[in-house]
Amino acid sequence: MLLFACVLVALAVVVTPALLIQPFKPQTENHLTISHALRRVSPLMTIALLAVVGTLMFKLWRGARLWSRALMILAFALTTLGSWFARQNHFEWMFNPLTKVSYAAIGEAAFVDDADLVLAVERNGEAAAYPIRQLAYHHLVHDTVGRVPIVVTY
Protein backbone atom coordinates (compact mmCIF):
# COMPACT_ATOMS: atom_id res chain seq x y z
CA MET A 1 0.00 0.00 0.00
CA LEU A 2 1.13 3.49 -0.83
CA LEU A 3 0.75 4.52 2.79
CA PHE A 4 3.36 2.09 4.02
CA ALA A 5 5.68 2.87 1.18
CA CYS A 6 5.61 6.51 2.31
CA VAL A 7 6.42 5.60 5.88
CA LEU A 8 9.29 3.39 4.82
CA VAL A 9 10.77 6.06 2.58
CA ALA A 10 10.43 8.72 5.27
CA LEU A 11 12.22 6.54 7.78
CA ALA A 12 14.86 5.35 5.32
CA VAL A 13 15.72 8.90 4.34
CA VAL A 14 16.53 9.92 7.92
CA VAL A 15 17.97 6.68 9.23
CA THR A 16 20.41 6.03 6.38
CA PRO A 17 22.74 8.98 7.04
CA ALA A 18 22.72 8.16 10.75
CA LEU A 19 23.77 4.59 10.00
CA LEU A 20 26.42 5.53 7.43
CA ILE A 21 28.05 8.16 9.57
CA GLN A 22 28.72 6.29 12.76
CA PRO A 23 31.74 7.08 14.94
CA PHE A 24 33.37 3.67 14.95
CA LYS A 25 32.59 2.56 11.41
CA PRO A 26 34.66 3.48 8.37
CA GLN A 27 33.24 5.88 5.77
CA THR A 28 33.83 6.02 2.04
CA GLU A 29 33.38 9.02 -0.23
CA ASN A 30 30.08 7.52 -1.41
CA HIS A 31 28.81 7.23 2.15
CA LEU A 32 29.45 10.91 2.66
CA THR A 33 27.99 12.04 -0.66
CA ILE A 34 24.83 9.99 -0.09
CA SER A 35 24.45 11.16 3.50
CA HIS A 36 24.96 14.78 2.54
CA ALA A 37 22.34 14.56 -0.21
CA LEU A 38 19.84 12.78 2.04
CA ARG A 39 20.31 15.24 4.89
CA ARG A 40 19.79 18.10 2.50
CA VAL A 41 16.48 16.83 1.10
CA SER A 42 15.06 15.02 4.11
CA PRO A 43 13.45 17.99 5.91
CA LEU A 44 11.33 18.85 2.87
CA MET A 45 10.84 15.27 1.75
CA THR A 46 9.58 14.05 5.10
CA ILE A 47 7.10 16.91 5.33
CA ALA A 48 5.85 16.10 1.85
CA LEU A 49 5.51 12.42 2.76
CA LEU A 50 3.67 13.41 5.93
CA ALA A 51 1.19 15.35 3.82
CA VAL A 52 0.68 12.31 1.56
CA VAL A 53 0.19 10.01 4.54
CA GLY A 54 -2.28 12.45 6.08
CA THR A 55 -4.26 12.71 2.87
CA LEU A 56 -4.38 8.95 2.41
CA MET A 57 -5.53 8.51 6.00
CA PHE A 58 -8.29 11.02 5.45
CA LYS A 59 -9.46 9.20 2.29
CA LEU A 60 -9.29 5.67 3.75
CA TRP A 61 -10.50 6.40 7.28
CA ARG A 62 -14.25 6.02 6.85
CA GLY A 63 -14.24 2.57 5.24
CA ALA A 64 -11.46 1.18 7.41
CA ARG A 65 -11.55 -1.46 10.14
CA LEU A 66 -10.31 -0.80 13.66
CA TRP A 67 -6.95 -2.54 13.15
CA SER A 68 -6.54 -0.73 9.86
CA ARG A 69 -7.16 2.60 11.55
CA ALA A 70 -4.65 1.72 14.27
CA LEU A 71 -2.03 0.98 11.64
CA MET A 72 -2.77 4.27 9.91
CA ILE A 73 -2.24 6.14 13.15
CA LEU A 74 1.04 4.30 13.65
CA ALA A 75 2.08 5.20 10.11
CA PHE A 76 1.33 8.85 10.77
CA ALA A 77 3.26 8.79 14.03
CA LEU A 78 6.31 7.19 12.43
CA THR A 79 6.31 9.66 9.55
CA THR A 80 6.04 12.51 12.04
CA LEU A 81 8.98 11.03 13.93
CA GLY A 82 10.92 10.96 10.66
CA SER A 83 10.11 14.61 9.93
CA TRP A 84 11.23 15.59 13.39
CA PHE A 85 14.48 13.61 13.21
CA ALA A 86 15.28 15.16 9.83
CA ARG A 87 15.53 18.49 11.64
CA GLN A 88 17.76 17.31 14.49
CA ASN A 89 21.51 17.23 14.84
CA HIS A 90 22.08 14.07 16.83
CA PHE A 91 25.83 14.66 17.00
CA GLU A 92 25.13 17.71 19.12
CA TRP A 93 23.09 15.51 21.46
CA MET A 94 26.20 13.40 22.00
CA PHE A 95 28.48 16.42 22.29
CA ASN A 96 26.69 19.56 23.41
CA PRO A 97 27.97 22.71 21.77
CA LEU A 98 29.53 25.33 24.00
CA THR A 99 26.99 28.11 23.62
CA LYS A 100 28.09 30.38 26.44
CA VAL A 101 31.79 31.06 25.90
CA SER A 102 33.45 32.60 28.96
CA TYR A 103 36.97 32.91 30.26
CA ALA A 104 39.01 32.94 33.43
CA ALA A 105 42.23 34.76 34.13
CA ILE A 106 45.14 32.44 34.86
CA GLY A 107 44.81 33.00 38.58
CA GLU A 108 41.24 31.69 38.55
CA ALA A 109 41.90 28.73 36.29
CA ALA A 110 42.27 25.99 38.88
CA PHE A 111 40.08 23.79 36.69
CA VAL A 112 43.12 23.10 34.46
CA ASP A 113 46.04 21.02 35.76
CA ASP A 114 49.58 22.11 34.98
CA ALA A 115 50.20 18.95 32.99
CA ASP A 116 47.00 19.25 30.93
CA LEU A 117 47.48 20.19 27.31
CA VAL A 118 45.90 23.36 25.98
CA LEU A 119 45.45 24.66 22.47
CA ALA A 120 47.07 28.10 22.62
CA VAL A 121 46.32 30.92 20.19
CA GLU A 122 47.98 34.32 20.16
CA ARG A 123 46.98 37.06 17.80
CA ASN A 124 47.65 40.81 17.81
CA GLY A 125 48.73 40.79 21.44
CA GLU A 126 45.82 38.73 22.74
CA ALA A 127 46.44 35.21 24.09
CA ALA A 128 43.84 32.50 24.78
CA ALA A 129 44.15 28.89 25.91
CA TYR A 130 41.56 26.20 25.21
CA PRO A 131 42.01 23.15 27.46
CA ILE A 132 42.11 20.00 25.34
CA ARG A 133 39.97 18.08 27.83
CA GLN A 134 37.13 20.50 27.15
CA LEU A 135 37.76 20.70 23.40
CA ALA A 136 37.77 16.92 23.10
CA TYR A 137 34.13 17.05 24.21
CA HIS A 138 32.75 20.20 22.55
CA HIS A 139 34.89 19.64 19.46
CA LEU A 140 34.56 23.25 18.36
CA VAL A 141 34.44 26.66 20.00
CA HIS A 142 33.79 30.01 18.30
CA ASP A 143 35.88 32.92 19.50
CA THR A 144 37.54 36.15 18.47
CA VAL A 145 41.20 36.57 19.33
CA GLY A 146 43.06 39.74 18.48
CA ARG A 147 40.04 40.88 16.41
CA VAL A 148 40.18 37.73 14.27
CA PRO A 149 37.00 35.55 14.34
CA ILE A 150 38.12 31.94 14.67
CA VAL A 151 36.75 28.51 15.32
CA VAL A 152 38.93 26.33 17.54
CA THR A 153 38.56 22.65 16.71
CA TYR A 154 39.89 19.42 18.10
Partner: protein, 226 residues
Protein backbone atom coordinates in the same frame (compact mmCIF):
# COMPACT_ATOMS: atom_id res chain seq x y z
CA UNK B 1 35.97 34.24 7.70
CA UNK B 2 35.24 32.97 4.18
CA UNK B 3 34.76 35.37 1.26
CA UNK B 4 34.30 38.23 3.70
CA UNK B 5 31.66 36.42 5.75
CA UNK B 6 32.08 34.97 9.23
CA UNK B 7 30.67 31.44 9.23
CA UNK B 8 29.16 29.66 12.20
CA UNK B 9 29.80 25.95 12.58
CA UNK B 10 28.15 22.94 14.18
CA UNK B 11 29.50 19.49 14.86
CA UNK B 12 27.64 17.41 12.30
CA UNK B 13 29.23 14.05 11.65
CA UNK B 14 32.34 11.97 11.45
CA UNK B 15 34.51 10.73 8.62
CA UNK B 16 36.84 7.89 9.56
CA UNK B 17 37.16 9.18 13.09
CA UNK B 18 37.85 12.77 12.19
CA UNK B 19 34.85 15.01 12.68
CA UNK B 20 32.81 16.91 10.13
CA UNK B 21 31.28 20.29 10.82
CA UNK B 22 28.58 22.12 8.96
CA UNK B 23 28.24 25.86 8.56
CA UNK B 24 24.84 27.49 9.15
CA UNK B 25 25.27 29.93 6.27
CA UNK B 26 25.67 27.53 3.33
CA UNK B 27 25.16 24.06 4.80
CA UNK B 28 28.55 22.93 3.49
CA UNK B 29 30.35 20.06 5.24
CA UNK B 30 33.92 20.69 6.41
CA UNK B 31 36.58 18.17 7.42
CA UNK B 32 38.10 19.16 10.79
CA UNK B 33 41.72 18.11 10.31
CA UNK B 34 42.14 19.72 6.89
CA UNK B 35 39.78 22.66 7.29
CA UNK B 36 38.49 21.96 3.81
CA UNK B 37 34.85 21.92 2.68
CA UNK B 38 34.24 18.46 1.23
CA UNK B 39 30.57 18.78 0.23
CA UNK B 40 28.10 21.56 -0.38
CA UNK B 41 28.21 25.00 -2.01
CA UNK B 42 31.66 25.84 -0.63
CA UNK B 43 33.24 22.52 -1.61
CA UNK B 44 36.96 22.95 -2.16
CA UNK B 45 37.28 26.06 0.01
CA UNK B 46 39.88 25.85 2.75
CA UNK B 47 39.63 27.65 6.06
CA UNK B 48 42.70 29.74 6.84
CA UNK B 49 44.68 28.08 9.62
CA UNK B 50 45.55 30.23 12.62
CA UNK B 51 48.98 29.63 14.18
CA UNK B 52 48.53 27.62 17.34
CA UNK B 53 50.40 25.52 19.87
CA UNK B 54 49.32 22.39 21.66
CA UNK B 55 51.37 22.68 24.82
CA UNK B 56 51.21 22.01 28.55
CA UNK B 57 49.27 24.54 30.62
CA UNK B 58 52.22 25.19 32.94
CA UNK B 59 54.37 26.22 29.98
CA UNK B 60 51.65 28.41 28.47
CA UNK B 61 51.09 30.21 31.80
CA UNK B 62 54.76 31.19 31.93
CA UNK B 63 54.75 32.49 28.38
CA UNK B 64 51.39 34.30 28.54
CA UNK B 65 50.80 35.48 32.12
CA UNK B 66 48.07 37.85 30.90
CA UNK B 67 46.25 35.25 28.82
CA UNK B 68 42.67 34.02 29.25
CA UNK B 69 41.55 30.42 29.73
CA UNK B 70 38.30 28.96 28.41
CA UNK B 71 35.92 28.14 31.23
CA UNK B 72 34.24 24.73 31.36
CA UNK B 73 30.50 24.41 30.75
CA UNK B 74 29.11 23.49 34.19
CA UNK B 75 26.27 21.46 32.66
CA UNK B 76 28.57 18.97 30.96
CA UNK B 77 31.76 19.19 32.98
CA UNK B 78 31.34 15.59 34.17
CA UNK B 79 31.47 14.49 30.53
CA UNK B 80 34.82 16.09 29.81
CA UNK B 81 37.83 13.90 29.13
CA UNK B 82 39.55 12.59 32.23
CA UNK B 83 43.15 13.49 33.02
CA UNK B 84 44.38 10.16 31.67
CA UNK B 85 42.36 10.37 28.45
CA UNK B 86 45.45 10.01 26.26
CA UNK B 87 46.28 6.64 27.78
CA UNK B 88 42.67 5.46 27.49
CA UNK B 89 42.41 6.66 23.89
CA UNK B 90 45.26 4.41 22.80
CA UNK B 91 43.05 1.39 23.39
CA UNK B 92 40.14 2.70 21.29
CA UNK B 93 39.81 0.77 18.02
CA UNK B 94 40.58 2.41 14.71
CA UNK B 95 37.85 2.11 12.10
CA UNK B 96 39.65 3.16 8.93
CA UNK B 97 39.67 0.46 6.34
CA UNK B 98 43.20 0.54 5.08
CA UNK B 99 46.20 1.94 6.78
CA UNK B 100 49.89 1.87 6.48
CA UNK B 101 51.42 -0.38 9.10
CA UNK B 102 54.80 1.31 9.22
CA UNK B 103 53.66 2.74 12.53
CA UNK B 104 51.05 1.62 15.03
CA UNK B 105 47.65 3.15 14.15
CA UNK B 106 47.43 5.10 17.43
CA UNK B 107 51.08 6.07 17.56
CA UNK B 108 51.28 9.74 18.40
CA UNK B 109 53.22 11.70 15.80
CA UNK B 110 54.12 15.30 15.17
CA UNK B 111 53.31 16.06 11.53
CA UNK B 112 54.95 18.76 9.45
CA UNK B 113 53.92 19.82 5.93
CA UNK B 114 56.01 22.33 3.98
CA UNK B 115 55.88 23.06 0.26
CA UNK B 116 53.61 20.08 -0.29
CA UNK B 117 55.92 17.57 1.44
CA UNK B 118 54.86 15.87 4.65
CA UNK B 119 56.79 14.11 7.34
CA UNK B 120 55.70 12.42 10.55
CA UNK B 121 57.91 12.37 13.64
CA UNK B 122 56.92 9.74 16.23
CA UNK B 123 56.57 11.50 19.57
CA UNK B 124 58.61 8.84 21.37
CA UNK B 125 61.63 9.60 19.19
CA UNK B 126 61.42 13.37 19.55
CA UNK B 127 62.52 14.00 23.11
CA UNK B 128 65.77 11.98 22.91
CA UNK B 129 66.59 13.67 19.61
CA UNK B 130 65.66 17.21 20.61
CA UNK B 131 66.71 19.65 19.17
CA UNK B 132 66.01 17.61 16.06
CA UNK B 133 67.39 19.09 12.85
CA UNK B 134 65.81 18.15 9.54
CA UNK B 135 64.77 19.45 6.15
CA UNK B 136 61.17 19.15 4.93
CA UNK B 137 60.04 20.41 1.54
CA UNK B 138 63.38 22.17 1.17
CA UNK B 139 62.93 24.09 4.44
CA UNK B 140 65.56 23.52 7.15
CA UNK B 141 63.72 23.07 10.43
CA UNK B 142 64.34 22.29 14.07
CA UNK B 143 61.86 20.45 16.29
CA UNK B 144 62.24 20.95 20.01
CA UNK B 145 60.56 19.39 23.01
CA UNK B 146 60.22 21.30 26.27
CA UNK B 147 61.40 20.02 29.64
CA UNK B 148 57.91 18.62 30.26
CA UNK B 149 58.57 16.21 27.37
CA UNK B 150 55.05 16.87 26.02
CA UNK B 151 55.15 20.35 24.56
CA UNK B 152 56.63 20.44 21.07
CA UNK B 153 57.40 23.28 18.67
CA UNK B 154 59.02 23.54 15.27
CA UNK B 155 60.90 26.47 13.80
CA UNK B 156 62.58 27.32 10.55
CA UNK B 157 66.37 27.37 10.86
CA UNK B 158 66.66 30.03 8.20
CA UNK B 159 67.15 33.42 9.80
CA UNK B 160 65.71 36.60 8.31
CA UNK B 161 69.02 37.35 6.61
CA UNK B 162 68.92 33.98 4.84
CA UNK B 163 71.58 32.28 6.97
CA UNK B 164 70.73 28.71 8.02
CA UNK B 165 71.78 27.76 11.53
CA UNK B 166 72.38 24.48 13.34
CA UNK B 167 71.26 24.02 16.92
CA UNK B 168 72.42 21.61 19.58
CA UNK B 169 72.10 21.03 23.32
CA UNK B 170 69.41 19.79 25.70
CA UNK B 171 65.88 20.91 26.68
CA UNK B 172 66.68 24.09 28.57
CA UNK B 173 70.02 24.95 27.00
CA UNK B 174 69.90 25.06 23.22
CA UNK B 175 72.70 26.84 21.40
CA UNK B 176 73.40 27.61 17.78
CA UNK B 177 76.76 26.62 16.32
CA UNK B 178 77.27 29.86 14.42
CA UNK B 179 77.16 32.41 17.24
CA UNK B 180 76.91 30.32 20.40
CA UNK B 181 73.75 32.19 21.39
CA UNK B 182 71.24 30.44 23.61
CA UNK B 183 67.68 29.98 22.31
CA UNK B 184 64.53 29.40 24.36
CA UNK B 185 61.40 27.35 23.66
CA UNK B 186 59.60 30.30 22.10
CA UNK B 187 62.33 30.57 19.45
CA UNK B 188 63.97 33.69 20.80
CA UNK B 189 67.71 34.03 21.44
CA UNK B 190 67.93 34.97 25.12
CA UNK B 191 71.70 35.13 25.57
CA UNK B 192 74.74 35.70 23.40
CA UNK B 193 75.68 37.77 20.36
CA UNK B 194 72.32 37.21 18.69
CA UNK B 195 70.12 37.89 21.71
CA UNK B 196 66.74 39.19 20.62
CA UNK B 197 66.65 37.45 17.25
CA UNK B 198 63.65 35.23 16.58
CA UNK B 199 63.14 31.99 14.70
CA UNK B 200 60.01 31.70 12.60
CA UNK B 201 57.54 29.10 13.85
CA UNK B 202 56.56 26.25 11.58
CA UNK B 203 53.06 24.76 11.92
CA UNK B 204 52.92 21.26 13.33
CA UNK B 205 50.08 18.89 14.08
CA UNK B 206 50.00 16.41 16.95
CA UNK B 207 47.99 13.54 15.55
CA UNK B 208 47.55 9.79 15.56
CA UNK B 209 49.46 8.04 12.80
CA UNK B 210 46.31 6.64 11.17
CA UNK B 211 44.74 10.09 10.83
CA UNK B 212 47.95 11.81 9.67
CA UNK B 213 48.46 9.07 7.10
CA UNK B 214 44.83 9.34 5.82
CA UNK B 215 45.26 13.03 5.05
CA UNK B 216 48.93 12.86 4.05
CA UNK B 217 49.16 9.67 1.99
CA UNK B 218 52.65 10.50 0.67
CA UNK B 219 54.09 11.25 4.09
CA UNK B 220 57.62 10.31 5.01
CA UNK B 221 58.41 9.03 8.51
CA UNK B 222 61.34 10.09 10.64
CA UNK B 223 63.50 7.28 11.96
CA UNK B 224 66.25 7.94 14.46
CA UNK B 225 69.77 7.26 13.37
CA UNK B 226 69.14 8.03 9.70
Amino acid sequence: MVNGRALRFHLYGINNQNFIMRDEETGSWWQQVSGEAILGPLKGTKLKPVPQDEIAFALWKREQPGGRVLRPDPRVVSLYAKADWETRMRKVPVATRTFDKRLDARELVVGVTLNGRSKAYPMRLLDPASPLLDVVGGVPIVIVTAEDKRSVRAFSRRLDDGKVIELFGRADVVLDSASGSQWDFSGVAVRGPWAGRRLEKVAILRDYWFDWRTYNPQTAIYSAGL
